[in-house]
Structure formats: C-alpha cells, structure tokens
C-alpha cells in the first residue's frame, strides 16, 4: 500500500464509483482515508439528519454532486406531518458559504423553499443539475430563479413534487444563451406553460435527450417539439387528445417517425384512445414504458400498444390493464425486468383490478423479472409459490393487497407460506413489502431466509413481538424497517437496541410501543435520535411512560438532536 504515490492511488480510486465501495476504501487506513476524501466528488446522504453540512464540507472539499434524502418513506402516504422537517435551506446556505463548487443536487422527500432555490441558483457558477423527487415547498418562482441564473444548466428534473404553480413564465426565464439543456422534466406541474418559450427553448437545445411535458402541453405543440428534437431518448407526453383527422395529428405521425432514438415513453396525462396508432412506430424500441398516469388508456387499445413493445424492460401501468392484459404482457415482453401495477381506483375495488392470476402469468412469461410493485385485489399462497419458482431473481418484491388483512381467498389461510416461498427462493432479495393476512410465521421465514434484505415494510401483520424479533435477529443486512399497525411492543423494541445503530432508521406507528420503551432506547443509545411524533396534544399533558406512542421514528446520527423539529415532535 505504501509503494504507490498518492496520485496513483487517486487514479485507481477514480474507477471506484459506488458509494458503498468508496466508503469501504476510506476505512482501510489513514492514508487511503485521506486520498479518498480529497478525490471524492459524489456523496450520498440517505438521511439528512445523520450528519451536518459543516462536517460534510470539512471532509469532502472536492464535492461536486450531493444527494440528500429527508422525510421517512411513510411520508409518501400522509403518515408524516408536512412540517416535520427535511429542510434543504441550511445545506444550501452552508455550501454557498464554503468553497465547494457544487454542480449537482439531488433531493428526495425534502422541503425546498423558493429562497433555497434562489440561493442555489446564485451561489454555484458551474451548477449543472437539479433533480427533485417527491419534494414540496417551492413554487414556479423558484424554478424561474434556476432557469434565469444557472448559465450552464444541463438538467432540471422534477418528479412527483408538490409545486405551487403560479403560472408564471418560468420557462421564459431561460436566457437565449442557454443552450446546454440535456434533460427537462416538468410533468408534475399542474399549470399552464408558455408554449412559445418552450418551443424556442427546445429549438436551441441540441443536446436535449430527455423531455417530459405536463398536462398543459397540447398535441400540436408536442408535434412541433418533436420536429425540433428528433434526437430525444426519453419522452413524456403531456396531453394527447386530438381529432385523428386533423392536420396536427398527421404532422405528429411524421414527427414521431423521425424520433428513432426514443427508448423511454411516459405521460399521456390526457389521452384519446383513437390516436394511439401514431405511437406504434416507436414502440418496438422502447425499454421503459410508463402509463401509470394514463387512466384513459385501457382495453383493446392498451393491449395493442403493448403488443408492439417487444423490447420492454420496465413497465409501469395501472391495474385497469387487468389479468388479461398482463397475459398480453407475458406473451410480448420477454425482456421484462421491472413491473409496477398501480391502483387506478384505490378506494373503490372494482372490475378494473388485477388478481394473483395476472402476476402468475407475468412470472411465467417473463423470466428476467426482478423488480415488482403490485397492487391487487387478492393473492393466494399457491400463486406466490408459483411466482417464487418462476422468478428466483427478485431483488425488489412489493405486494400490496388493497384490503390489508385479506387472507388467501381460496383456502382462507394467511399468506405466510406464499411470502415464505418468495424469501426462500429469491436469495438476492433486497426489498420486501408485505400485505394480506399474516401471522408471526411469515417473519420467522423472513428472518431465516432473507439474508440480503435491506428494506422491509410491514402493515397490519403479525400476532406478537416474536414477529419483529425474528426479523431483527435474522436479517443481518437490514437498513430500513418501517412498521405500521402491528402488535409489536416494548419487548421487541428493546431486545437488541444495538441493532439500530447498524441500520439507517426504524419507523413504528400505531403499534404497542410505549413512551417508556422509547425513552429506554434513547437512554441506552445516545447515537440514535428517537423521535416521537404526536400531533394530538396528548403528549403535553400526559407524560405517563405507559402511554402508547402514536408514531416513533428513530435513526442513527453523528450530530445529535436536530434543532428544527416542530413542537409536536419530541426527541427523547
């Protein structure tokens, strides 16, 4: 190790890109730690409260790209109050004051204010890429600042954010001199956009590869955009409604045929079924198709579209595709690796849903399947056992039965055996979400077989503390555990508090853990923040240790209690 000069080692480390590997490299010895930290350009922080911006800046002066995640995953389902935390402003403020030449910022589940976007846009000369996923707190004014001030912007990617749309002219704020855009995604914006400005922007962006439009972009604008950007690789269509006999539609057909590079297609936020044939010419090359925002696309037209997509590797679809439709997928998409089936009507089970049959068909027809998110009416043990046999390569298996405690409808048994088969067969399983009627038994299986499991989501399951204990004892690689409405109490929580230091976080809501139990964890483990979230004002007046806790979120941290928690969050 001492034979090579630092520059050589640095060059070697350039080839090591994964965060895990770089983290391992930095632990070898002091010299490697030093070389690694000066050469590190990309840092991933899975929990923004585990470290402070100051320490980040101190350790990695060469930082160019930062990824931050804020709220816990269950925030996606309204289980976390809006102002719980995850504010990005302090990070941007600290980075701006330092000499860090930030070029890329990727945020997930964070609160992003217009002020932070403005500060970001003015503080880093070489800023190139902003990716916001499931964030909130900003308006189109913040986007205008980014557009106006980031002279070398390459990527502005907004995925599923809650944006207050002021219908301002943020798109017009890109100066004429901005010609560097590679990726522009504003599909989640709900308001009008300046179509002329959009056309001009696309015209002067020869490197544009990814363009995802919102609902407000009509079909005739789409046609003009495609004529100007036939080099697109990824397209998100906004509105797709038009008269099939119109001039605009004919022009669109011609424009689409010129786009020979499109590999990824999404959107169809508004769709007219009779216009789908224009898309067929590009279907044969698609590797990713996302129709999960297109409830208007169903039935035979949907089938026909899918039948053209023989090279599909990832498919995101609504459950109105039905079991029959999934049969078509099974016959057509032999390269399929990832399938996500979303509920089109989550609160009213109807005919437009899928069952275990569809899943079995896909598992039989698509041997490369390794990632699944499946919202369905029902599931059987037999089906899961078959799926486990057909597809032993699952890395992600997330099953959501719409009725959370529904048993196997054929046998009336819990789904323990079915999920047990999945974990036993899929030795590489990293992420698992369970649903349906489940006893402690399924957790015994998980503890025994799910050796690579990193993330587990449990709801309305188990009979006793044993369930949680099986998991904590068995899953050595567990990083994130999120539990709601399960009968797990203090005995399970306190059995092995050291375990939580090996994990990123633990979420438990509507379980049986008490205030006393949580306090005990906090006392024994000063390296954890144990947060109690309770908006009901109960906590103020009733500090009885025996009281059950509504929501508990604990996570390891190097920087102690956070200072920005709202009043209904108690950090023990």
């Amino acid at each position: 190790m001492n034979y090579f000069p630092d520059e050589v080692l640095e060059h070697v480390f350039d080839f090591i890109t994964s965060h895990k590997d770089r983290n391992s490299v930095s632990l070898v010895c002091k010299s490697w730690y030093k070389i690694e930290r000066y050469s590190r350009q990309r840092v991933f922080i899975g929990n923004c409260y585990s470290i402070s911006p100051e320490r980040l800046i101190a350790r990695f002066p060469g930082l160019k790209s930062l990824t931050l995640k804020g709220k816990p995953h269950f925030a996606d389902f309204n289980l976390v109050p809006h102002d719980w935390g995850g504010f990005v402003y302090p990070w941007i403020e600290a980075l701006a004051k330092s000499r860090i030449g930030l070029e890329e910022l990727r945020l997930k589940r964070m609160v992003v204010s217009d002020e932070s976007l403005e500060l970001l846009s003015k503080s880093f000369v070489n800023f190139k890429s902003l990716v916001l996923v499931s964030c909130e707190g900003f308006t189109t004014d913040g986007l205008a600042a980014i557009a106006a001030n980031c002279r070398f912007l390459r990527e502005l990617d907004l995925q599923e954010n809650e944006v207050d749309d002021h219908r301002g002219h943020w798109l017009s704020c890109f100066p004429e001199s901005c010609t560097s855009l590679i990726s522009l995604n504003f599909a989640c914006l709900r308001g009008e956009v300046n179509l002329g400005a959009l056309e001009r922007l696309v015209s002067r962006s020869p490197n544009l590869k990814s363009l995802r439009l919102n609902r407000a972009v009509p079909l005739d604008t789409l046609q003009k955009l495609l004529m100007r950007a036939p080099q697109l690789v990824d397209l998100g269509i906004g509105s797709y409604v038009h008269d099939p006999f119109s001039e605009a539609y004919n022009k669109l057909k011609i424009a689409i045929q010129r786009c020979k590079s499109i590999r990824s297609l999404s959107g169809f936020l508004e769709v007219a079924l009779h216009c789908m044939s224009a898309i067929y010419p590009i279907c044969g090359n698609l590797t990713f198709l996302n129709l999960s925002y297109a409830p208007g696309l169903h039935g035979n037209k949907l089938m026909k579209l899918i039948q053209h997509c023989r090279k599909l590797q990832r498919l995101w679809i609504l459950d109105c595709i039905g079991d029959k439709g999934l049969g078509v997928v099974a016959l057509t998409c032999k390269e399929l690796q990832e399938l996500r089936v979303f509920p089109s009507d989550p609160f009213e089970a109807g005919n437009a849903a899928v069952t275990e049959e569809g899943l079995v068909l896909v598992s039989a027809g698509c041997p490369k399947l390794n990632s699944l998110l499946y919202f369905c009416q029902q599931m059987t043990n037999a089906a899961l056992i078959t799926v486990a046999k057909n597809c032993p390569n699952f890395i992600r298996f997330r099953l959501c039965i719409l009725d959370p405690i529904k048993p196997d409808p054929v046998t009336n048994q819990p789904l323990d055996e079915g999920f047990g088969a999945i974990v036993q067969s899929c030795k590489g399983l990293k992420r698992l979400s369970l649903s349906g009627l489940l006893t402690d038994q399924v957790f015994l299986y998980i503890g025994m077989y799910a050796e690579q499991l990193e993330m587990l989501s449990i709801a309305f399951a188990a009979d006793s503390d044993k369930g949680m204990l099986y998991v904590l004892n068995g899953c050595k690689k567990l990083r994130k555990l999120e539990i709601r409405d399960c009968p797990f109490g203090d005995a399970a929580l306190l059995e092995d508090v050291g375990k939580y230091e090996t994990m990123r976080s633990l979420w438990m809501s509507s379980c049986e853990v008490t205030l006393g139990g949580c306090k005990s964890v906090a006392e024994k483990m000063p390296s954890l923040n144990v947060e109690i979230i309770d908006e009901s004002e109960q906590m103020e007046f009733n500090l009885d240790d025996k009281q059950k806790v509504d929501k508990m979120y604990l996570y390891r941290t190097l920087v102690g209690h956070r200072k920005d928690a709202p009043e209904y969050v108690w950090i023990l």
């Binding site: 499931s134 509920p343 989550p346 609160f347 009213e348 719409l402 009725d403 409808p409 409405d485 908006e535």
Partner: protein
C-alpha cells in the same frame, strides 16, 4: 332487484345511522350484501368504503387497526378510517382524475345507473353502452334510426338534464361540449306517442 329487498334495507335504517345502506358496492341496489365467509366482512369493500372521505394528514382521525379491524367489521356503525392505505403516492393523482359520473334514469326502471362520461368518445359509444346496461329496453339512436322495444313496443329517447334543469334531447350539442359542461343527468324518456313506432 325486487322491491322487497329494497324495502328491507330501508326498514333497517329506522332508528339509527345505518351505514350499510349507503355503502358503495358493485351490485345493483337491492342485492343482498353477503360475503363468501358470511360473517365479519373482511372483503375488499370494507376497507375502501370507509376511506372514501380520506383525511389527508389528519392524524387525529387515525385509528389503530389490525386486530381492531376485526371489531370494526362486526359493528358496521363504527366506520374506521385508514390513513395512508393503500400506500400509493400521489393522492389519487393516478386515478380517474377527470371523471364525470352522471346518473342515468330510465322511465319505468326501478333503479338508476351511473356512467362516467369521460370513458366515451362519442354519442354512439354512450348509447351502445346504455343499451347494454338497460338491455330490457331499447333506445332510439339519436341519429334518428328508430328502434322499437321488442317487449312492449315503446320507444325510448335519450335525454339529459342540462345545467339549467331542462331536459334536452341527446345529440344536438357536440359530444365534447355536452360531456364537459352540459350534462347533469341522463334520462331515457318514453317518446311522446306521436313519434313512436313505424
């Protein structure tokens, strides 16, 4: 669908809130609501009819379920709400965001139906669908092809109630316009005697 069943439902209403009667189901009104296991209703409908009024972020409403779900199912009056279930992001942004349900009533039929105008692209599609739904009647095609009901020889005309409360004949206004702004409810009225048969 006999009126007997319908009556029975109404009778149990008396004396208190009976949510069962107002629960959304797939069956036609009047159909008995029993599940395969006969007992506590843990079928898929239970979970949703309670979450129709989802309170976003209102954690005071959240009730611990799991085992208590069993109890809730036995006493239908205590409607529990399940915040955050199903775990799908986007507060139904994925779902039928633009759906326009209208009630359809047919003269002489004991019950109404609901259709979502959004899924049809033309009058023809709508009328075909209505014919399927009310297969015991036949509906005059708005393009003036006369159709006679086989059973009782009465012809039906598709009409709708517009926003002013007037009953209008289907077909005068372009499809998109009727769908988006005009239709409040659809009806199938018996044609006035002088225009029937032939």
């Amino acid at each position: 669908m006999s009126s007997e069943n319908g009556k029975r439902l109404l009778e149990t209403d008396a004396g208190g809130l009976n949510f069962e009667a107002t629960e959304l189901t797939l069956g036609l009104p009047g159909e008995p609501r029993v599940t395969s296991d006969g007992g506590a209703k843990l079928g898929s409908k239970r979970g949703f009819s309670e979450t129709v009024d989802l309170k976003l972020g209102d954690n005071n409403q959240e009730v611990k379920l799991g085992h208590s779900l069993q109890e809730a199912a036995k006493s239908p009056v205590s409607k529990t709400q399940v915040v955050g279930w199903p775990p799908v992001r986007g507060f139904a942004r994925r779902g039928k965001k633009s759906c326009k349900y209208v009630k359809v009533a047919v003269d002489g039929a004991p019950y109404l139906r609901k259709v979502d105008l959004e899924i049809y692209n033309s009058y023809q599609q709508l009328l075909t669908s209505l014919e399927d739904m009310f297969s015991c009647f036949t509906i005059r095609n708005y393009l003036n092809e006369k159709k006679i009901d086989q059973v009782n020889g009465i012809e039906y005309m598709p009409t709708y109630e517009d926003k002013d409360g007037d009953w209008m004949l289907v077909g005068d206004v372009p499809w998109q316009l009727m769908k988006s702004s005009e239709a409040v409810g659809l009806g199938l009225k018996t044609a006035p005697k002088y225009s029937s048969t032939n």
